[in-house]
C-alpha cells in the first residue's frame, strides 16, 4: 500500500518537474484552459443572476380582479371570503371604486368638473398576491374566478416574466451547448499537448517498457500533468470570474445615478469555485489519460 502511494508520489513529482521545466508553455496551457472555461462560466453566472431576479419578480406578481359596476356589498364579501380560502393566494387587498377614484384624482390632479366626468368610471377591485408561479395552477384559479358572479375582468400581468424566463432558459441551453463544445476543444488541446509530451519523452517510455513498466505506470506522470493543467486552468477561470464580477459591480455602482438603479452580480460561493476547478481537473485528467494511452501503445521498441 505504501509502495502504491510512493509510486503515485513519484509520478506526481515527475509531472511537476515537467511542468516547472517548461514553465512558460505550462502557463500558456493554464491560460488556454482558464479562458476557455471562463466563457461558459461567465455566461452561466450572468444568467443565474438574472434568473434570480426574475424569480423574485414572479412571487411579487399580482392578479387583478375587477368587479362589475353594479355589484352588491354581500357579493363583494362572498368573493373576498372565497379568495381568502384559496390555497394559491398569499394575500388579498380590496380597493373600492371610491378609493381608487380618489387616488386617481389626486395623482393626476383631476377635477371632475373640468374633465366632464359625471360619475366614477372605476370598478371595485381585488389585488391578489400569489404564492405560486405554476402556470397550470394560475390558469385554474383564473378559470374558477371567472365563474363567480360579479366578476367582470381578470388580469394577470406576468407575461413578460414568463418571456424572460423562456429567454433565460434558451440562453442556458445555448451556454450548455457552448460549454460542451469548448470542453471538447479543451480535450483536444490538452490531449494534443500531452501527445507531444509523450513524443518528447519517447526514450524514457521505450526504456521503461523494456525494463518492465506497465502502460499505466508510464501513463501516470502524463495524467498528473493533465490534472495539474486542469488545476492551474481552473484557478485562472475562478480568478478571472472574480475579477470580472468586481469590475462589473464597481461599474454598476458608478452608473447608479445615471441609470437610476444597480444590477449587482453575486460573487461565486466556494462550492461553485470548487466545481469549476474540479471540472477543469477532470477535463485535464480525461484528455491526458486518453492521449497518453493512445501514444504509449504506439511505442514498441528495441533497435
Amino acid at each position: 500500500m505504501l509502495n502504491y502511494f510512493h509510486n503515485h508520489f513519484q509520478a506526481f513529482n515527475r509531472a511537476m518537474v515537467r511542468i516547472f521545466s517548461n514553465l512558460a508553455s505550462s502557463f500558456m496551457m493554464f491560460i488556454v484552459i482558464g479562458v476557455t472555461l471562463f466563457l461558459p462560466s461567465s455566461g452561466l453566472l450572468i444568467v443565474e443572476n438574472i434568473a434570480q431576479i426574475s424569480n423574485n419578480i414572479a412571487y411579487d406578481a399580482e392578479l387583478s380582479l375587477f368587479l362589475k359596476k353594479n355589484i352588491k356589498q354581500d357579493q363583494i364579501d362572498f368573493i373576498q371570503s372565497a379568495l381568502s380560502k384559496t390555497s394559491v393566494i398569499k394575500r388579498v387587498h380590496f380597493e373600492s371604486k371610491l378609493t381608487a377614484w380618489d387616488k386617481l384624482q389626486s395623482k393626476l390632479n383631476l377635477n371632475p368638473l373640468d374633465t366632464g366626468i359625471s360619475e366614477n368610471p372605476l370598478p371595485d377591485a381585488f389585488f391578489i398576491s400569489l404564492n405560486t408561479f405554476d402556470e397550470k395552477a394560475i390558469n385554474v384559479l383564473i378559470d374558477n374566478l371567472k365563474t363567480i358572479d360579479g366578476v367582470e375582468n381578470i388580469f394577470f400581468d406576468a407575461g413578460w416574466v414568463k418571456k424572460l424566463r423562456s429567454i433565460l432558459y434558451l440562453i442556458k441551453i445555448g451556454l450548455a451547448f457552448l460549454g460542451v463544445i469548448l470542453i471538447i476543444v479543451l480535450i483536444v488541446v490538452i490531449g494534443n499537448t500531452i501527445r507531444l509530451q509523450t513524443l518528447t519523452h519517447k526514450d524514457e517510455i521505450e526504456v521503461s517498457k523494456l525494463i518492465g513498466a506497465t502502460n499505466s505506470f508510464i501513463q501516470r506522470p502524463f495524467i498528473y500533468t493533465g490534472l495539474m493543467y486542469g488545476l492551474g486552468g481552473g484557478f485562472i477561470t475562478v480568478f478571472t470570474l472574480k475579477l470580472s464580477i468586481e469590475i462589473f459591480n464597481k461599474a454598476s455602482i458608478n452608473l447608479e445615478a445615471m441609470l437610476g438603479g444597480t444590477f449587482i452580480l453575486k460573487n461565486l460561493i466556494w462550492q461553485q469555485n470548487l466545481t469549476i476547478i474540479t471540472i477543469a481537473m477532470l477535463i485535464g485528467c480525461f484528455a491526458s489519460f486518453f492521449a497518453a494511452r493512445q501514444s504509449i501503445k504506439k511505442f514498441e521498441i528495441f533497435k
Binding site: N3, H6, D203, L210, I211, G212, A213, F302
Partner: protein, 225 residues
C-alpha cells in the same frame, strides 16, 4: 531455463529473420550469440524479451510459452530480465542514481530498499562515487557500466545484452565483459549478442547465426570441463 523449439520469425515483406531455431539455454549459463550483421542476433534477443513474437514454434521460459503470452503479462516477464543495449538507452535528464533506481520504482520496491540496492549496484560497476552525476558527463565505458547497474539492480535471473561492447574501445570492452563474467559466476544467466567472440577462459556457450539459421552451437563449458 529458456528453450527454443522450431522457432521461425518472419518480418513483413517475407524477410526471414530466424529459421528453425532449436536452442536450450540453461540456468547460470554464459551464452554468446554471434554472427554478422543481419544474422538474426537481435531478433533472437527480442523473442526472449517478448518484444517480438515468433511467427511459428515455441519459446518456453519458466514453463511458460512466450509465444502465447498475453500482452498484459509481458511487462511482468520483462522484470525478470536485465537488459543492456549497445546505445545504453540511459535517461539523460536523470542522474546516475535515478537511472539505476527506475527498475525498482517499476517493481514497487520501498524507498529505503531502493537507496541501498542502487548504491550496491553502482558499487558493483565502480560508479558509487558518481550517483549524482548526469550520464552525459560519463565516458562511453562508464555509461555502459551505468546501464549494467540499471540491469542488475532488480536482481534478475537473466541478463540480456545486445552488442554491449559494440561502441567501446578494447580496454572498455574487456572491462564490461569482466563484469558480465562476474555475474555469471554468481549464478546469473547471461546472454550476449556480439559480432566477435571475445577471447575468454570462462566456460560459455557459443551460438552462431548466419542468415537467420543456427549454423553452430558449441558448448565450451562442456569442452573445458
Amino acid at each position: 531455463m529458456i528453450t527454443f523449439d522450431k522457432v521461425f520469425k518472419r518480418y513483413p515483406g517475407n524477410m526471414d529473420a530466424l529459421q528453425n531455431i532449436n536452442l536450450e539455454i540453461l540456468p547460470a549459463e554464459l551464452v554468446f550469440v554471434t554472427g554478422p550483421s543481419g544474422a538474426g542476433k537481435s531478433t533472437l534477443l527480442k523473442l526472449i524479451s517478448s518484444v517480438e513474437r515468433p511467427t511459428s514454434g515455441t519459446i518456453v521460459f519458466e514453463n511458460r510459452n512466450l509465444s502465447q503470452l498475453k500482452s498484459k503479462d509481458i511487462p511482468y516477464l520483462r522484470r525478470k530480465f536485465g537488459m543492456i543495449f549497445q546505445d545504453h538507452k540511459l535517461l539523460y535528464d536523470r542522474n546516475c542514481f535515478e537511472n539505476v533506481s527506475l527498475p525498482l520504482d517499476i517493481n514497487d520496491i520501498e524507498g529505503l530498499d531502493i537507496n541501498r540496492r542502487v548504491r550496491a549496484a553502482l558499487d558493483k560497476v565502480g560508479l558509487l562515487n558518481k550517483e549524482k552525476v548526469m550520464p552525459i558527463s560519463l565516458s562511453g565505458g562508464e555509461q555502459q557500466r551505468l546501464a549494467i547497474a540499471r540491469a542488475i539492480v532488480s536482481r534478475p535471473s537473466i541478463l540480456i545484452a545486445d552488442e554491449p561492447t559494440g561502441n567501446l574501445d578494447r580496454e572498455y570492452a574487456d572491462e564490461i565483459m569482466n563484469i558480465f563474467y562476474s555475474f555469471q559466476q554468481v549464478g546469473v544467466t547471461v546472454i550476449i549478442s556480439t559480432h566477435e567472440l571475445p577471447i575468454t577462459p570462462i566456460k560459455h556457450k557459443k551460438v552462431h547465426l548466419i542468415g537467420g539459421e543456427l549454423k553452430d552451437q558449441i558448448n565450451y563449458a562442456k569442452l573445458l570441463s
